[in-house]
Symmetry: C2
């Protein structure tokens, strides 16, 4: 009946572990009661609330040893923050479930926790509760609350005539993952840039919040599954299609150095956590980039006819694109 | 990079799976947007909000085949509902993370999902979001939001002189688990009662909400780790101790039939999800039971001196009670 990792010799019991994970946490005014009771208590909010859940599982989303334990912790929060960013919201509070194998060592957990806390502090998110269960593999599941602000960006709001934009550069994380998995080789500078893009993605919180202030409110989604996959989610939700100029997809210098003219990682590689958005704006890229505080590139336009049309190439027939109707 | 179970032949991709899990969900007025976008959108609430997270892992909290898949789904929500009940709140919305092994079959997932939905419907909880990841073992992690009402019951509010009460009967779930694990034998009627108490615990939501209306507001906690363990959490949080009459601990007829005069399951067995509360009330048990809509039994009183004193026996030296100071 014991659901806790207390049967391991190296680990303290659940109660002590939670106390350790939450020791010395400081909270914003929004939090009335943090970890330690059956629930956290949060002050009522004036705006609509955003809620999302995401999980990072050892062997599926990360391998121990690829990055530091701190980076694993940071990354677990970042993928959740990205969901809030994609709606244009401000993250506020989270609860964290840890699945911890019996073989886990306390120094590893402490370092992972340090990464989680520093990411939470940087994003001004209160860690208000936690739960620990023993498990065969490490898993960090985070449920994150956010404040919606005055306007929310949804993925079902793309309309024919909208321009399609992305933030940052695409495909870096996919290449970083392939480098870590020894599937691709890279020289030191490009290697460290691409691996970092995979290990410590940046949720585009500030850009998302500023985007949500445009009128009309853009449609947006974060790129977690890959550009074509996430674009198709947006198109399906909105009941529209897209013309894409794949040669416009923004690539980093490191991407070009490693992958040359192979666009597949940028089109179908996931885990970039950049924003993909559709806006009726006539602002030039440069002005939009200035306003959002991040490089923004126009890569196409929304059309009435369903499916995705690429300007120069055929749609890659990779797994997972069965719902793309061309 | 694919974090989804789509590499399995039997399972549809993540996107389709989530669509299936959320198909036909109906929402209360509180929910502006349910599953399908990066986040759910919820209307702002007038009262303080409760937030909790809990996880049920195959092999740790349940074994496939012990109950029906529907019961596994129901139980996953019930343990979360119990945390809201213990604070006296009303559950409102949840997000669910599924860890699904590649060997999983769709009919099993569909049935589990049916159990989750019917439990959510019964508790008037909106399932507003989900996430699916492949994993080595089944895991259902639920983050649940609740409305705190006018007053919240906390575990740090027990004061010397308070009477200590529990709802329902204790130790049934522990015996049910031991029956399923072939550690204890029982005749058919007692067996099915005890096994049901383990497989489908009842969160004491109504009793919790009514309790929170008593003045002064009681201290409360749910009994998930066992009476002595959870009492000690409450005593530690409140900085007090307790005198307990262990012969007063309420036992079911089935418990007595199977365990005779062995009180250990009632004192230290977990997973009962009854409420343990401390109240300054002078109401007799019968009247309190009537008001709360569930049997209530007085089992002791809070004292100034730390630790737990039992009336007739020594504290059991079971694992996990190291923080009990006698």
């Amino acid at each position: 009946l014991r659901s806790v990792a207390s049967s391991s010799k190296d680990l303290p019991g659940e109660f002590e572990l939670i106390a350790r994970l939450s020791a010395g946490l400081r909270f914003s005014r929004r939090t009335i009661l943090g970890p330690g009771d059956d629930c956290a208590i949060l002050r009522p909010a004036r705006n609509a609330q955003l809620l999302t859940i995401d999980s990072m599982v050892e062997g599926v989303h990360f391998k121990i040893g690829w990055g530091t334990p701190e980076q694993i912790g940071e990354r677990a929060l970042a993928v959740n923050l990205s969901d809030i960013a994609a709606m244009g919201g401000t993250p506020t509070a989270c609860v964290i479930n840890f699945g911890i194998p019996k073989t886990a060592k306390m120094p590893f957990i402490d370092r992972l926790n340090r990464g989680l806390r520093s990411a939470a502090r940087a994003a001004q998110v209160d860690i208000v509760g936690g739960n620990i269960t023993s498990a065969r593999e490490f898993a960090i599941t985070i449920a994150l609350l956010g404040d919606a602000g005055a306007q929310v960006m949804r993925r079902d709001a793309a309309r024919p005539g909208d321009n399609i934009f992305v933030t940052g550069t695409l495909g870096d994380a996919a290449l970083g993952w392939r480098i870590l998995a020894h599937k691709v080789r890279a020289q030191s500078r490009a290697r460290s840039f691409l691996v970092d893009r995979y290990l410590t993605p940046t949720a585009r919180l500030e850009a998302g919040a500023r985007l949500a202030r445009l009128r009309p409110v853009p449609a947006a989604i974060d790129i977690s599954d890959g550009l074509l996959q996430d674009l198709s989610h947006m198109l399906d939700s909105s009941g529209v299609g897209a013309d894409l100029d794949e040669t416009k997809v923004p690539l980093s210098a490191a991407y070009r150095e490693v992958a040359r003219d192979d666009l597949s990682h940028a089109l179908t590689g996931g885990e970039d956590y950049e924003l993909l958005f559709c806006a009726r704006t006539s602002l030039p890229e440069r002005e939009l980039s200035r306003r959002l505080g991040v490089r923004v590139t126009r890569i196409g336009a929304i059309r009435r006819r369903r499916g995705i049309g690429l300007a120069h190439m055929k749609l890659p027939a990779s797994a997972g694109y069965d719902q793309l109707r061309g």
